[in-house]
């Protein structure tokens, strides 16, 4: 259990997250307007989205399929009957004066997400529900000193609100939860998980208590839009509540707004000022009824999800849980790994895992490129690993070759050929170099022979490798040095 230390003792932090994930669909939840990001303001607005008089919503079946797929991906209960309700409030970027949302009967009920923690351990976080709802438009306050403009492109875009149970106990777990959820959504292709563009947004519910005691009063921090900010907001709010309670104060049920620049939150409204949303079933829409057969069909066509893939990587390839979870976090990365591994896993999984996670992803990160734009393909990386495996080059030379591949896009074999980097495995050739190095360094040879400094053999290996420009087979060098110096 992770606790935080107060002046008067330990406190436990209780965290639940509400995540709004924009559904990937060509058109909006109840209209045919496009959902593409970044278009000119008000260029993707249908009569329904603008709430013109007499306009009616018609449910987009694809959005329902996406929500159901997500529910299945969260191992959740799918409700065959769900109801759209109206959440009523006034705001200029909410043209209807109500948001169509699911309230009492969401399309998806309880489920679970297994989060992976940095120490390689896993923990289950409960999902309370998932429901579909419309997004609002955007109020633009920065276009004119005296006026507010409204952009309705986002108005009516389909969102999934995914509500966790209050099962998280630290900022670290919350971060792992968001990352895992994002990974699952991306695997499913139901949300792109892009927090920068606002296609995934997070509200944090948090309370603190003495370990073992009743739950405390919670606050909700809104508008926290990156994993880092969520963790900052949690640390800030947990600290604030503990300080408040320890100084004899009391936490009030309120909504707080996170300020990413300051890393702080401020009170937005208390429970007394909270809206009365006057939810009621939307009379323009019949209850949503879906068939079990359709759910089954969607389920049968789900891709392999990260948890299953991770388990398979551990079982079939003998990877460590940590390496496996790094590889499966992104579907494309896992696919890249398996491509490098080759048909039927013909290459050594550990070697491949190491090269993919350390060298390849390292280079990718350093260059700021996406996987699709990498100058070295999976096949080319496989070619390099083959050269290591069959002894053509050593691991050290391989790193050099890889750098050259990254810079030029050439195949490993070509580079090895052009630069003459092929490993020397001819005993005579290596023996000649060894003899030469020993002859040139009689003092060091004496240190070894007298037993004063047995470690000096390592220095000799380095010298021989240097003299061979790294091409000598290290194992053979070692053996020959021992033979010659010891003899």
């Amino acid at each position: 259990m992770s606790l935080i230390q107060g002046e008067t003792g330990d406190w436990e932090v209780i965290i639940g997250l509400e995540i709004h994930a924009q559904i990937i669909s060509r058109s909006k939840l109840f209209s045919g307007a496009s959902t593409a990001f970044g278009s000119a303001p008000n260029s993707q607005v249908s009569l329904v989205d603008a709430a013109m008089p007499g306009m009616l919503p018609v449910l987009n079946r694809e959005c329902v399929a996406q929500a159901v797929r997500t529910g299945l991906g969260l191992k959740a209960h799918i409700n065959l009957v769900s109801v759209f309700e109206r959440k009523n409030y006034f705001y200029p970027d909410l043209p209807q004066g109500y948001q169509i949302s699911q309230y009492q009967t969401p399309v998806v009920g309880e489920g679970v997400i297994t989060i992976d923690l940095p120490d390689g351990s896993s923990r289950d976080i409960g999902i309370e529900r998932l429901h579909m709802e419309q997004d609002a438009g955007k109020s633009l306050h920065d276009q004119d000193p005296n006026k507010t403009f409204v952009d309705l492109n986002r108005s009516g875009v389909a969102l999934m609100e995914i509500v966790s149970k209050p099962d998280m106990r630290s900022a670290e777990e919350a971060g792992a939860y968001i990352r895992k959820l994002r990974s699952i959504l991306r695997y499913l292709g139901t949300c792109d998980g892009n927090m920068d563009e606002g296609s995934m947004r997070c509200d944090v519910n948090l309370s603190v208590r003495r370990p073992g005691e009743e739950l405390g009063t919670r606050t909700e921090t809104k508008n926290v839009n990156s994993v880092r900010f969520v963790q900052q907001a949690i640390d800030y709010e947990a600290r604030r509540q503990v300080e408040l309670l320890e100084s004899g104060g009391r936490v009030i049920l309120e909504t707080r707004l996170f300020d990413a620049r300051k890393g702080e939150s401020r009170s937005m409204r208390s429970k007394e000022e909270a809206h009365d949303y006057r939810y009621f079933p939307d009379p323009d829409l019949l209850p949503l009824e879906i068939e079990q057969a359709w759910v089954d069909e969607l389920g049968a066509n789900l891709p392999e999800l990260p948890d299953e893939k991770k388990a398979r990587f551990i079982k079939d390839y003998g990877l460590t849980p940590y390496d496996a979870s790094v590889l499966v976090a992104e579907q494309a990365n896992a696919a890249f790994f398996e491509t490098v591994l080759g048909d039927g896993g013909k290459r050594d999984p550990k070697l491949v895992s190491n090269w993919v996670t350390v060298n390849f992803f390292g280079a990718l990160n350093a260059s700021g490129l996406d996987l699709g734009d990498a100058p070295v393909s999976a096949e080319q990386l496989g070619g390099l690993i083959d050269l290591i495996a069959d002894g053509t080059i050593s691991g050290r030379i391989a790193k050099e070759v890889f750098e050259e591949m990254w810079a030029t896009g050439k195949d490993a074999a070509t580079i090895v050929e052009e630069k003459g980097l092929k490993q020397i495995t001819d005993t005579g050739e290596i023996e000649a170099i060894v003899d030469k190095v020993i002859a040139e360094n009689p003092d060091q040879a004496e240190q070894f022979r007298s037993g004063d400094n047995p470690k000096v053999i390592g220095w000799f290996v380095g010298q021989v490798m240097k003299a061979s420009q790294g091409k000598a087979n290290p194992g053979m060098v070692n053996q020959l040095l021992k033979d010659k110096l010891g003899g």
Partner: protein, 492 residues
């Protein structure tokens, strides 16, 4: 000649056009003249004579080419709740003054696709909230009828009062109305015409300004049962743009008018004998029973036990939905925006405070209240439960009978200005029409007689869901028996 053309029924005009007795141009000119001559009645908010005449010429050309459609060249009045492309659509409210939608409602589009012409947009209670047409921002509508020896102006009923007056006053061959709790049937009764509310889901609601979404339904208003059947056939049909519209074949309603009700089982609900109902309404009802019996129908007493809860239930559900439906009129995107504001809240107040009239505000407040936290279960949720009990009453009744006969309204038309200070008395106008609205059932009102002071009185027939044909067939028989030929004062 001119006035003769406006006295034809829609079906007669259709047949005469087909025979070439006159042109669509002549027919339309006659109606345009009548419309212009009757401006005192305030039946229309907007007149579109050029559009109608242009369409008439087009219709004559099509007919000449042998391409006439079912309603080719027949001029109609359209309730100003239907959005009409590039023609001002106000819903009787100031808040939509000047609003010309860039789209056409499904129902009106279907009428135009069948060749009908639009004379103009008719007046109505603001957002269809009212039973007198007195709540319109554009002024009350006058009923073409007057009491004998009394010059008081009377209301045409509401909310489709402008359409009712246009049809009764021979300004249009037929009209569209909408009925949420009786807004077609009650004004039809008050003005001596025939009006039909089809089953909820028959007509698309797309492009009709919403009042209460679970109740609103478009329907025809005309001077005969046959005319209503004709119009209804064009107006209804499945619309993928309205999730509550029903995908069922549209019958040839006119063909249902066989005149034969032998063996038909007619239910007479005892709960509709309400306190304070006038003697003459009661005897008209009895007259209706006798006519149907004489035509060979069987009459059965039935019970609809939850009838007394219908009105309060309606006045919770309809305002609740309205309070949400009317939230979009915020002055941000279209319609009127108030003046003299310094912040957002003030802009809403200025816009909605001046844009809505008193009756609309009253219902928005009621609706907001019944949906509020702490009151939702006691009011809105309870009302929903009672609503399903009312629907069950009808379902049970229809195990024993095929149609139900009732009066349409508890009184004849009243004077303009009456009941304005007593909303509850005003709401009682809908006591006979509201239960079927809550149950989504089809109903027709037709003129069956006159009150002692010479005003038309209506009888209502209600049917099973999607059984408009039986309703129309029985209405046809009653119509023939009643032989209602009285004409409003405005024609003499």
């Amino acid at each position: 000649m001119t006035s003769e053309l406006t006295r034809l029924t829609l079906a007669e005009a259709r047949d005469a056009l087909a025979k070439g007795d006159f042109s669509a141009r002549e027919l339309t000119e006659a109606h345009v003249s009548a419309m212009e001559a009757a401006r005192d009645l305030n039946s229309f908010i907007v007149e579109t004579p050029e559009k109608a005449l242009e369409g008439a010429d087009e219709a004559d050309k099509r007919r000449a080419k042998g391409e006439a459609r079912t309603l080719e060249g027949l001029p109609l009045a359209i309730k100003d709740l239907f959005c009409t492309r590039d023609v001002q659509t106000t819903a009787g409210s100031r808040i939509l003054e000047g609003f010309a939608p860039p789209y056409e409602s499904t129902v009106t589009q279907k009428l135009w696709d069948d060749g009908a012409l639009m004379l103009g947009k008719t007046n109505l209670d603001e957002f269809a909230m009212g039973s007198s047409n007195m709540t319109s921002y554009y002024g009350g509508v006058e009923n073409p009828w007057k009491r004998e020896g009394d010059n008081h102006k009377l209301v045409p009923g509401g909310s489709s009062g402008g359409s009712a007056t246009a049809v009764a006053g021979r300004l249009a061959l037929g009209a569209t109305g909408t009925d949420t709790g009786g807004s077609i049937r009650q004004p039809a009764a008050f003005t001596g015409i025939t009006g039909m509310k089809p089953t909820y889901g028959r007509c698309s609601r797309w492009g009709i300004v919403a009042f209460a979404s679970s109740l609103d339904q478009a329907g025809p208003m005309a001077r005969s049962v046959r005319d209503c059947a004709l119009l209804l056939r064009s107006m209804c049909g499945h619309d993928p743009k309205d999730s509550t519209s029903v995908d069922m074949p549209v019958p040839d309603f006119e063909a249902a008018l066989t005149g034969d009700v032998r063996g038909l089982r007619v239910g007479i609900p005892k709960e509709y004998r309400v306190d304070g109902m006038s003697e003459e309404i009661d005897s008209l009802w009895q007259q209706g029973i006798d006519w149907l019996k004489a035509a060979g129908a069987e009459v059965h007493d039935i019970s609809l036990p939850h009838t007394q809860y219908a009105l309060p239930t309606y006045y919770i559900i309809a305002p609740a939905e309205a309070s949400s439906n009317l939230a979009r009129y915020d002055g941000v995107r279209y319609g009127q925006r108030g003046e003299g504001y310094d912040n957002l809240e003030q802009m809403y107040e200025a816009t909605r405070g001046t844009g809505f009239g008193d009756e609309v505000k009253r219902r928005l407040l009621i609706g907001t209240y019944v949906l509020s936290a702490g009151y939702y279960d006691a009011y809105y949720n309870k009302a929903r439960q009672v609503r399903s009990l009312i629907a069950q009453d009808f379902t049970k009744a229809y195990e024993a009978v095929d149609v139900i006969l009732t009066p349409t309204a508890p009184s004849a038309a009243f004077a303009m200005g009456d009941k304005m200070d007593d909303p509850v008395a005003m709401y009682l106008n809908d006591v006979f029409t509201v239960p079927a609205s809550l149950a989504g059932l089809p109903g027709v009102s037709l003129p069956a007689g006159l009150s002692s002071d010479g005003l038309p009185l209506g009888l209502q027939l209600l049917g099973r869901p999607f059984d408009e044909e039986t309703v129309l067939r029985s209405a046809g028989v009653l119509e023939e028996a009643a032989a209602f030929t009285a004409e409003p004062a405005s024609l003499s």
